[in-house]
Amino acid sequence: MSPAELDYRTLRARLERGELRVREVVEACLDMVERRKELNAFISVQAEAALRQAEIVEQRLRKGNAGRLAGMVLGVKDNIAIAGGRTTCGSRMLANYVSPYSATVIERILAEDAILLGKTNMDEFAMGSSNETSYFGPTRHPKDPERVPGGSSGGSAAAVAACQCTAALGSDTGGSVRQPAALCGVVGLKPTYGRVSRYGLVAFASSLDQIGPLARTVYDASLLTEVICGYDPRDSTSVNLEPPAILQKLEKGVRGLRIGLPREYFASGLQEEVREAILSAARSLETLGAHVTEVSLPHTEYAIATYYILATAEASSNLARYDGARYGYRSPRCSTLEDMYFRSRSEGFGPEVKRRIMLGTYVLSAGYYEAYYRKAQKVRTLIRRDFLEAFEKCDVLLTPTSPTTAFRIGEKLGDPLTMYLSDVYTVSVNLAGLPAVSIPFGRDSRGLPIGAQIIGPTFAEALVMQVAAALEQEGRTN
C-alpha cells in the first residue's frame, strides 16, 4: 500500500515508529497527483515547499515534539489564502492573485505540523455543485472520469478520494463540503457557523460560509476539525468557545440516542438506491441501540428558494470588490474608470458567477428588496425553528446528503435551476447554521458512492461525529 493511501492514524503510527519518513509520504502523494493528472483536482501544487516542510516535520517527530497533524499531507481549496501563494478561487478574476497573508485555519494547521501540498480546484467563487464552472477546467470523478465530483469543493473531495493527499480543507456555503464528499465517497464536515474562523477565506455569502475538513475516515476529519476550530478576533462572527472535543467521543456508540428521519427528505426526486441506503443506515443504528423516529421539517420545500435569494444577495455585495483597481483581473482595453469596472468584471467573471451577481442585485434592488430579500430572511427564521422543534424529539437527524449519486459532466450545466436543486438536502443546514457531516454509506448499481448526512444541534460536532463513527464501522463490516 502506498503511504498516500494510509489514513492519518495509521500513517502517524508508522512515522512515530520510524518505519516511514515524512518525505516518502509527500513523494507518494505527489506521485498520485501525477498519475491521475486527468482528474484536475489541483490548481497548483507546491512540491518543493512541501518537501522542505517534510524535512522540518521529520526532525520534530524524531525529537518527539511534533504537532497533532505531523505528516498529514493536505490539499487546500483555492479560496483559502496561503501567504505567498496564488489564491485563484477558480476564477480568471484572481488567476494571478498572490495572497499577502495566510488564513487563520492555515496558521492553525501549520502550527500542528501539517504539510501543504497545494490548492484544490473548485467551482468559480464556490458557486456550483459540480466543479464544472472552474476557469481551470472541470475536476473529474475519481471512479468515473465522465462524471462530476460534486462541488464546490470538488477538487478537495476528488483529491482525498484518489489518495492524492491525506485530507483536505473545503468551504461549505450551501453544501459545498458535504455534497462533493458524498459524491466522491469521503467524509466531509460543515461545522457550526462561527466555529471556524473565516479570516482568509474569500467571501461568497458571509452569513452562510464555513470552512470544513474532508478526509477518508471520521477520525481524520474529527482531528482536523479540532485543530481548525477556535476563537479568532480577526473574524467578528467567530464564537468565543473552546474547540469541540470530538476524538474522545468517537467510540461511545449510539445506544440510547434518538435518531430523527425528517420525512420531507425522503420525498420525490430522491434516487431509489440512495433512499434504500439511508434507510439501511437507520436500521443499522437501530441494531446498535439507537431509537429511530420520524420527524418533520415542514419548511424544507422553501429552503432552496430562500437560499438562492440570500446567498446571491450576499454574493452580489461581496463580489462588488472586484473592480480591477487594486487586485485581480483588469481588462487591457479600458479607456475610462467606469469602462474599467464594466470590462474587468465582465471579462474576469464566468457565466455562473455573473448570473448569481445579477440575481442577487435584482433581489436587492429598489422595489424588490421587501418582496424577496426581506421575505427570505423571514423564511430563514421558520427553517431554523423547524430544526429547533425537531431537536426536541431527537438528538440528531439522519438524511441523504445528495438526491443522486455523481451525475455526468454537462448533464445539468445548461439548466441553472436543476443544478441548484442538487443542494436540496444541504442548504437548510447552512441557513440554520448547524453542524452536519456526510459519510459514505453504500454504493449504487454503478458502484458510485452514496453519502449519508448527520445533522446535529448548534455546536454538537462531537455528537454528529460520534454517530458518524458508528455508521462508518457498520459500513465497513457490511
Binding site: D323, S335, M340, S346, R355, M358, L359, Y372
Partner: protein
Amino acid sequence: MPISIEEVDRIAQLAKLSFTEEEKWELAEQLAKIVEYVEKINELDLEHVPPTTHVIELTNVMREDEVRPGLSQEEALMNAPAKKLGFFSVPKVIG
C-alpha cells in the same frame, strides 16, 4: 414573471456588468425561471415572523483603537494591475 431586456439592462448597470445581446436574452429567460421558482416563498404567511440576519447571537465586537502592524505598502501593491509612485494607477476618471 417575465423579465424584460430593459430590466436586464437596469440590473447589469447596477452590477457593473455588460452582456452581448444574445447573453441578455438568455439571462432574461434564466432569471425569469429562477425568480418564478423563488417566488414560492410567497405561499407563506410571514407577517408576524421576525427576520434572521445571523444565526448566532452577535453583539458588536469592539477593540481598543491601537495601531497594529498591517500590510506594508509594497505588500498592499503587490497585486495591483497598475501602479505609479507607490499608488494604485487607474484610467482617467473624467471622460
